[in-house]
């Protein structure tokens, strides 16, 4: 890997690139899916490749290949520089990366139990046991479980002298129980939707989930939901969101709009832009006084934790919202230089064949003083909504609408009737402005399906969150 990286950088310099970097990756991904007592999928995926990013004539080019061979290294480097020169045919200003970044070092995800050391049989057994526990509940139509572990060995080197090696390990698992009756389909997930909860950790992360213990709970809820009343329609009320739904709320309405590339318009052709325009930096009330948000790539176990980003910038913790005030973006070297700042280390690529983009690390809502029990007891009337089912937000990240798998009425400080098909909608700053309480039971939730960029890149990011309460929210939009 080292020789190939050096070869690419030497050739890029010789071809006149003003800057170049190269990433060489080897990835192993093992996945098991069980459904209704059967192994539905068992996959071992291995891939390798390298990507060369070059600046020439003040513009970017990138080329990547799966063939880790000297001749292919030369072809890709030549192409990267040629593509950069082609980009310069349609440029308006030269790229400025700001001061050089020279990082040397290594990083490995802390792992207690190597997930690849746990036999496939044991992984399958765990999922089948949980699957059986779900199917013991009468009325369950589908019981599903999945378990995934990913190991990525990554080398980054640049013409500025950076040389970084990392081994990142992710482990995740999850369950889904589905009940179907008379055209109604209800699903409950554990610990989170999107198939699983995932983190940068070892197999201990899966064992801590206690999948088998929790399997009957979600199965019973899925069946109960079939008979539950519809969430009241078009009601403006107080809503308490469970930590997993808060995580997605943070993801969509804070995590994406603070990406400085979006703010500067470079995602306008696809995902959109951001309402957090440059004039709002340190000058805009994003939420209420109890809202404190930080981006932290150093949180142990977080799915967005690493040692260095894909520009070689060390992982760091950055305040984003302080006491409700918007104070920082997620940045890259190129975008930070426009603000006269240094990158805060958020550039990550989805593999050897993609360029790094600004991606969320772990964008976390800081915990507050409440317990969930205290918060519900303090709420006269409202809705408690749990686990995301559906999500949508506009291209500036203002108008959102979410659906949750399950909800309960809150009346007189207690949970009452269970509701199905709960939805809520709002406008980002008004919604966070109505946040008056955050709980203290805090977990980093992995979001393994964050899409951005063209060609599409799927990032694995995290959100440390606790349950939180929001006032004056419109619920029950069903069309």
């Amino acid at each position: 890997m080292r020789d190939l990286a050096s070869r690419c950088l030497d050739l890029a310099r010789a071809l006149g690139a003003g800057y170049a970097d190269v990433r060489v990756l080897r990835v192993r991904n093992e996945e098991v899916v069980v459904k209704n007592g059967k192994v539905e999928a068992m996959l071992v995926h291995e891939e390798e490749g390298f990507g060369v990013r070059a600046l020439a004539n003040g513009a970017w080019g990138f080329a990547g290949s799966h063939r880790l061979e000297p001749a292919e290294a030369d072809r890709m480097t030549d192409l990267a520089v040629r593509i950069a020169r082609a980009s310069a045919l349609v440029k308006r200003a030269d790229v400025n990366l700001g001061p050089p970044v020279v990082s040397t070092g290594s990083y490995s995800t802390p792992v207690k139990i190597d997930p690849f050391g746990v036999s496939m049989e044991d992984r399958v057994h765990l999922l089948l046991e949980a699957d059986a526990a779900m199917r013991q509940v009468q009325g369950i139509t589908l019981a599903e479980g999945s378990l995934q572990c990913i190991r990525t060995d990554k080398l980054f080197a640049s013409t500025e002298g950076s040389f970084v090696e990392q081994q990142l390990v992710e482990t995740g698992a999850g369950l889904e129980a589905t009940a179907v009756r008379d055209g109604e389909v209800q699903k409950r997930s554990y610990p989170n939707s999107f198939g699983r909860q995932q983190g940068t950790a070892g197999y201990e992360f899966v064992l801590d989930m206690k999948l088998v213990d929790n399997a009957p709970v979600i199965a019973e809820q899925a069946v109960q939901l079939l008979s539950a009343p519809q969430c009241p329609r078009d009601l403006v009320t107080t809503i308490i969101l469970d930590p997993t739904q808060v995580a997605l709320q943070v993801h969509e309405s804070c995590g994406h709009p603070i990406e400085l590339d979006r703010v500067m318009g470079t995602e306008a052709g696809y995902a959109g832009t951001s309402f957090l325009t440059l004039d709002k930096l340190r000058n805009f009330r994003y939420g209420s006084d109890v809202v404190n948000i930080a981006a932290d790539a150093t949180v142990p176990g977080g799915l967005g934790s690493f040692g260095y980003d894909d520009e070689g910038v060390p992982a760091q913790r950055v305040p984003i919202v302080q006491d409700g005030l918007f104070v920082n973006y997620l940045t890259s070297r190129e975008t930070a230089s426009v603000l006269g700042q240094r990158s805060n280390g958020t550039m990550r690529a989805d593999g050897w064949n993609r360029i790094p983009l600004i991606r969320m690390t772990n964008v976390n809502l800081e915990p507050g003083p409440w317990s969930l029990q205290e918060l519900i007891a303090d709420t006269d009337e409202g809705i408690f909504a749990q686990t995301n089912k559906s999500w949508s937000i506009d291209d500036r990240r203002l108008n959102f609408q979410f659906g949750t798998e399950i909800a309960w009425e809150i009346k007189g400080g207690k949970l009452g009737t269970m509701y199905k098909n709960a939805t809520y909608t709002g406008i980002t700053p008004q919604f966070w402005g109505g946040c008056d309480a955050v709980c203290r039971e805090w977990t980093v939730w992995g979001v393994p399906n964050c899409g951005k960029g063209e060609p599409m890149q799927v990032a694995h990011v995290g959100h440390g969150t606790a349950a939180a309460r929001f006032r004056n929210v419109r619920v029950g939009v069903m069309g």
Partner: protein, 445 residues
Amino acid sequence: MIGEQKVRELTDDLRRYSTADQTEVVLVANESGLTRYANSAIHQNVLESNAEVRVRAVLGKKIGVATSNSLGPNALRQLVDRAIAVARRQPENPDFVSLPSPKPNQRLNACDDRTAGCTPEDRARAVGTVCSLALDRQLSAAGALQTGTREYAVANSLGAFGYDTQSTASLTAVVMSDTGSGYAERNSVFFNALEPEEVAREAIDKALRSRNPVDLPPGEYVTLLEEYAVAEMLLYLAYIGLGALAVQEGRSFMNGKFGRQIADPGISIWDDGWDPRGFPRSFDFEGVPKQRVDMISRGIANAVVYDSYTAFREGKESTGHGLPAPNPYGPMSINLFMGTGDATKEQMLASVDRGLWVTRFHYVNVVHPTQTILTGMTRDGTFLIEKGEIVGPVKNLRFTQSVLEALSAVRKIGKEARFAHSDESATVVPALLVDRFRFTGATQF
């Protein structure tokens, strides 16, 4: 391009290495360039060369899958060994019957040499045209131009073999003023069909007409949905219920509806991998020849697509809609078509007393799968119609709407179909005028 001869040698080698009862090899190779632009300049410009081999090994009723993008002889042997080792380590799947048997199939060549040979400079020139035309009108352009080639090969130990080549070219443009935006896209097998001037003209025209939008209260409106919006709805409809697994698991809107009217009699929806208006494919990821499947015919629920696993369950033949193994998601329609009608957009517009014109949707998601309720935003050109004319742009709206209810309330269907969405799949649809479309929220832009 690896070429058919080498691909055949490679898949033969893999099958020879295998000691499994049945073995399937899938190869997907691609070389693809994508030039992205924003703020009327190229800011990202990439090329990727990759080839992934996927081996499905069957031992009795145990199935293991391993994939790799390393094509050396040792790596391929190890790949087969890994797939067999994975199969050995798991319990039997009683539902599995067999890999598909070979079926006669026609050859398909959907690869255009001009597209395959497209250079970074070619892409830059086309993008430069869009940017220049936008800048001429004091507008800002963003989007992407992709060109590339793919080779697909599937071989199994029962004798099935298929090899397809395909070229793809796509150009998207979002053109923006300070207060509005417009959109256009073109997708084709042929780079020369992208028409960057036309794409720019369409997006610029919308952007200019979208300036200074006004508030409009949410509510139910007669709505003209342009092809981009219809394509988005159709993709979600296929995703949530037009595959056999969704029906077998009881979670499809088609359950209990076969043979019944579920949409306006003018609505027909089918999948056809051979139709040259999309991105043609002659076989699926199990090597089964693509069959045309008429899913909704004249508004009547008719059929869904099958892969071998779901077909064996019902004693049917696969329709050639399998995804790469292992596939817990079931068969999928990736070449979607909707039948045309007889109305021009001008005729649709003229027939509206008061309503909305929607160019496209953004960030659509499923709210209720069996009721086909989706939510999402309008984007890049939403206009108020009064007395048969567009009176001006309105701020973007959120919709929450059942697709089948909208397709049951169709007043007019466009006479021309457009290849309106491309993400390795194809969706070719007309514009629709629907009597009722429910908007449930508003924005300030």
